[in-house]
Amino acid sequence: MTFLLEAKGMTKRFGGLVAVNNVSFGVGAKEILSVIGPNGAGKSTLFKLISSFLRPTAGEVLFRGERISDLAPHIAARKGVVRTFQETTVFRNMSVRDNVIIAHHLRSKASLLGYFFATRQAKEDEAAFGRSADEILGFLGLESIAGETARNLPHGHLRGLGIAIGLATDPAVLLLDEPFAGMNHDETMKAVAMVRKLRERGLTILLVEHDMQAVMKISDRIVVLNFGQKIAEGTPSEIQRNDKVIEAYLGIEDEAIGL
């Protein structure tokens, strides 16, 4: 199987601590792959490694067979690998629509100077970005809050805005950082439906998540991390039956609920 995005032997050390240890897996085109694991398993480190926000100590990330792990984040984004953030990370003092418009950066045809002098190309770009932003907001059901300033939004909308920003970059692979964290059951179900719709737009989705239930529902395949190592990989049903996974999660759950 050829993967669109592939992690090979990813390792990250912080001083003496090994946060991620020799993790390999791949994501096929239009697949939804989830990385799960108990707290402190190294999920978010792995997430940052894949999105080029951190440099690996060893190993590499390949996108369409090309190494992207030592590139600056904006170049990885230009190639088509774009991440989202957890909810508080938006352009807080801009309107929702402006948030999405600015995120069309990668689709610019005019140069910076062109924008300064408002050339024809620049004007065309701006008009196109506006139309596209409206389309994206409509797609995600956010058109009613397009004029709101982002810092005034409630939590649920903030997450939608984060995804809208990601979509505006026109990515091939969208990396979602804990898209269901802190949601109640209804909200989670809505979000799950939305992620499916993203795939229908032709996107490949890699998400890092804590919420087992949602992940089981949504994923084509799941990678499980514990103590920085991959302990399992497979379809949701395979993972559910995997002893190592159950052990890892039970151990943690026990501690977490104080048993």
Binding site: V82, T84, F116, G166, T169
Partner: protein
């Protein structure tokens, strides 16, 4: 706003600075205001640069370094190489922009107070360099820069004018007008929005494909260009430059001008400079209580309008 109203506003501004103020000066006989207002115009340009770095989310307390650098570049070119004063202006600006790219590449990675402090130190480094380097003539400074450089062909001949102060006033406000026109365009174009995205969250900006390092350096270079240009004109106006011509106090003042006018408004630095610099001069009459009154007024202003003088309009609207 509509285009016609914009034209009216711009015209009104031009008439004010190029006609009304000179007439007011002539009527009131306060010829010393030419120098004061030229200073305000030039310092507000340097402050506009600082404002632009604020716009990308950096507190810049290093503009004094570039103003000093620009001043020295202009003075050295005029004195040692016989370059016309007019040519030294863009050259000084470009020199500063280039220097700021070299300096900015490493230090623009710093954020918040760390960037602020490094730029503050940069101002001091510039002063110490001016004292130590042979080309700047050390402690003595460069003095008696000839006024003949204004004997030129293309532009109005300064020496022909009755009072060079008036000529400098026109030059300064013309440059200031151009500077703020460019700034206004820059900030309201997509570039301004990109800068603002950096200000609000650099990681997010970088995740959507913005080359944050490049934008930062560009903004910083423009900022330094303005600082260098202002410094160069200032040196010509006073015909001399010393290591103490622009110091840490100036760098801090440039920053304060931006705060006072309002960080959210592109014309903030202009108003801020006018109020801070001119305000100090107006309080000249109060003698030994000058600093006390000045600082008390500043504190009061800050309490009433913490987002700058120009936030007065939005404040009223909110009510």
């Amino acid at each position: 706003m509509s285009i016609s109203r914009r034209i009216i506003a711009v015209t009104a501004f031009l008439i004010l600075v190029f006609a009304v103020i000179p007439i007011l000066i002539a009527v009131s006989g306060r010829k010393d205001f030419y120098y004061t207002l030229s200073s305000v115009a030039l310092l507000s340009m340097a402050s506009a640069g600082v404002w632009l770095t604020f716009h990308i989310g950096r507190i810049n307390i290093g503009q004094g370094a570039y103003a000093l650098m620009g001043g020295y570049v202009s003075a050295i070119l005029v004195m040692s190489y016989g370059v016309s004063f007019w040519w030294t202006l863009p050259l000084a600006g470009l020199f500063c922009a280039l220097a700021s790219i070299l300096i900015g590449l490493p230090i623009l990675r710093l954020r918040g107070v760390y960037f602020a402090m490094v730029t503050l130190v940069l101002t001091e480094v510039a002063r110490l360099l001016a004292l130590a380097l042979p080309v700047t003539q050390g402690a003595k400074g460069i003095t008696s820069i000839p006024v003949e450089v204004f004997g030129l062909t293309l532009v109005p001949d300064f020496t022909m004018m009755e009072n060079p102060r008036i000529a400098f006033y026109y030059l300064s406000v013309a440059l200031m007008t151009a500077c703020f026109a460019l700034m206004h365009r820059l900030v309201n174009s997509r570039i301004g929005h990109i800068c603002m995205s950096l200000q609000q969250n650099e990681e997010l900006a970088s995740s959507i494909g913005i080359n944050i390092a490049q934008i930062r350096v560009i903004a910083y270079a423009i900022s330094s260009f303005l600082g260098g240009l202002a410094g160069a004109v200032f040196v010509a106006a006073t015909q001399s430059v010393y290591p103490s011509s622009f110091t840490v106090a100036d760098s801090i003042n440039f920053m304060l001008n931006c705060f006072l006018g309002g960080l959210g408004y592109v014309f903030g630095p202009m108003l801020g400079t006018l109020v801070l610099y001119f305000g100090w001069n107006l309080l000249f009459e109060t003698g030994r209580f000058q600093l006390l009154i000045y600082s008390a007024l500043m504190i009061a202003l800050m309490l009433v309008l913490p987002n700058g003088l120009l936030s007065l309009g939005t404040l009223r609207k909110e009510r």
